[in-house]
């Protein structure tokens, strides 16, 4: 077996795959953040907590009701979306016209409540979630061993990201959404129910976070704190990419995941901070972000 610059290919491609998977989660979450920010003008700090909620709902469905992975992949995002509707209608809509910083603080408080509650009920140790039967095992590709579940995570999240892009950029509903992002009053005057559209957008975006949570459940343990560390990295991803573009968010997410994976191979000490370092460089060179339009 050949070696690349002293690194066995198994390790290199293994880390690249892990990077791609992390990138998939960055992409799914930053996509949701961008959509919410566009519509509500709020940075949803609770996004990480809702990702955790998705994983926990899947775990609870399995543990308490014996509902398996595939139904959970639909049900858990729906539960998270329903929770999102409640949050938006009871709280976020009340601060809609205020300084966007209040939205950040409010959703930060919500994140603390949700995470604290699960930590209180289930402790900090992770709960295992089994890989579904159909996705067990793996394939030897010659240069690396590819676990089927990991391949599925990458494919599924890519499909969902592209689907979201299509829905926003190429459908009629998406055109309403883009229009309402630019000029809500005008769209309202045309007879579109903008408040409903806002609620729907928030619900759909947090459902994406819930979906990511279910995808993560069999790979990482289901843990009340799984979202809080992720969300900070996703914030950095959003600062790097800018929130102006859907595809930009997806590309930035996957790209940074790969960079992080490569760092783990070549300089593991810096793997935790490489994204923050990239963020600092981007801020110096192109403050608006890679895909940002204005500052």
């Amino acid at each position: 077996m050949m070696e690349l610059i002293g690194i066995p290919p198994q390790a290199l491609f293994g880390q690249l795959l892990l990077g791609l998977i992390n990138g998939a989660f960055y992409a799914l979450l930053s996509l949701g953040l961008a959509v919410i920010f566009g519509m509500l003008g709020v940075i949803n700090f609770a996004h990480g907590a809702l990702y955790m909620l998705g994983a926990f709902v899947a775990w609870l469905l399995f543990q308490e009701l014996g509902v398996g992975y595939w139904p959970a992949l639909i049900l858990a995002p729906l539960v998270v979306a329903a929770f999102g509707v409640v949050l938006e209608r009871t709280m976020l809509s009340r601060i809609a016209k205020m300084d966007p910083l209040y939205g950040l603080l409010l959703t930060f408080g919500i994140a603390l409540v949700v995470e604290g509650l699960f930590r209180h009920l289930y402790g900090v140790s992770g709960q295992p979630y089994p890989v579904p039967d159909a996705l067990q095992g793996g394939t030897n590709l010659g240069f690396m061993y590819l676990p089927t579940y990991r391949a599925w995570v990458v494919v599924a999240s890519l499909a969902v990201c592209l689907g979201t892009w299509y829905a926003i950029e190429r459908t009629k509903l998406g055109s309403y959404l883009r229009a309402a992002t630019e000029k809500p009053q005008l769209v309202q005057a045309f007879g579109v129910n903008v408040p409903l559209l806002v609620t729907g957008t928030y619900a759909a975006a947090v459902a994406l976070a819930g979906f990511a949570g279910v995808l993560a459940a069999p790979m990482y343990q289901v843990n009340p704190l799984m979202g809080s560390n992720l969300i900070i990295v996703v914030f950095a991803v959003v600062v790097i990419g800018g929130m102006g573009s859907i595809l930009g968010a997806v590309i930035t997410g996957f790209g940074l995941g790969l960079v992080e994976g490569l760092t783990k191979v070549f300089y593991p000490e810096a793997a935790n901070i490489v994204i923050f370092v990239i963020m600092a460089i981007v801020l110096l060179v192109k403050p608006a972000g890679l895909f940002g339009r204005t500052t």
Binding site: F37, L104, I110, V238
Partner: protein
Amino acid sequence: MVAQHTDPMPAKRPTMAVAPGNPERPLMILAAVALVGLIIAPFVVYPVFLMKALCFALFACAFNLLIGYVGLLSFGHAAFFGGAAYVTAHAAKVWGLTPELAILLGGLSAGVIGAAIGALAIRRQGIYFAMTTLALSQMVFFVCLQAPFTGGEDGIQGVPRGSLFGLIDLNNPYAMYFTVLAIFAGGVWFIYRIVHSPFGQVLKAIRENEARATSLGYDTAKYKLMAFVLSATLAGIAGGTKALVFQLATLTDVQWQMSGEVVLMTLLGGIGTMVGPAVGGVIVVMLQNYLATTTLPATVVIGLVFVACVLLFRRGIVGELAHRLKIRL
């Protein structure tokens, strides 16, 4: 496409800070009463609790310098508070510096970190500023986790309090308390002077309308950075002092949760008021002490207070009071 919201925000939107008019006299009377109360307090209340409250009160006041008077929401102040705690602890324990020098060194190092983080963060506005500071402070957290001198998960333990100026033994709880009180009072007085200086007026102008301040010829980036460094330094002094009080520096103080806590203290007390953050800091410390004795999950309660503050009283306790009484506090 999803539009990016552009800053600066339109002036019509209610901003985060409230500063009612009228003279400063109530504030002076209040300060005098509070000082007398704080001098008597250690003979009535457990001094370590008071010292902890004072450290957090100063931390919140330092944070408020940014959010209240420049309108910048930093979500990364734990990096300065906790980072300085490590430096002070290391200086006192390994280098054997006297406490006042160790705290000063902690404050200065926080100022240096603040200059680096601030210079990057002020390149973006509003919500991006908050996210940038949070991400960069998380980087400081990982450095503290991995750096050789911080002791990883254990932190730096058994930090000697030493003797103030080499003369006064701070192992005496009262000596330590009055040192902390002096640092707190000095810090708050310094913030008061900053806010009421011509420099502070420019900061407030930037808060109200940055574009206009720029058009009047002020280099707003320079002012924002200066305010950021001052706030970080003061937060560092608070963190260094806390490290000496508890003879301990740990990861808890650099974690992002700490950045959130100081936001809550300031919000609860009243953003943009002189005394609000200190009051908020004391209340949050009291609340945490109380929650530690119960089975209630502390994070949930803190989160609920957060939500209630944002939804119900954005002026905070002191801000609301000042608004009702039409005085400046």
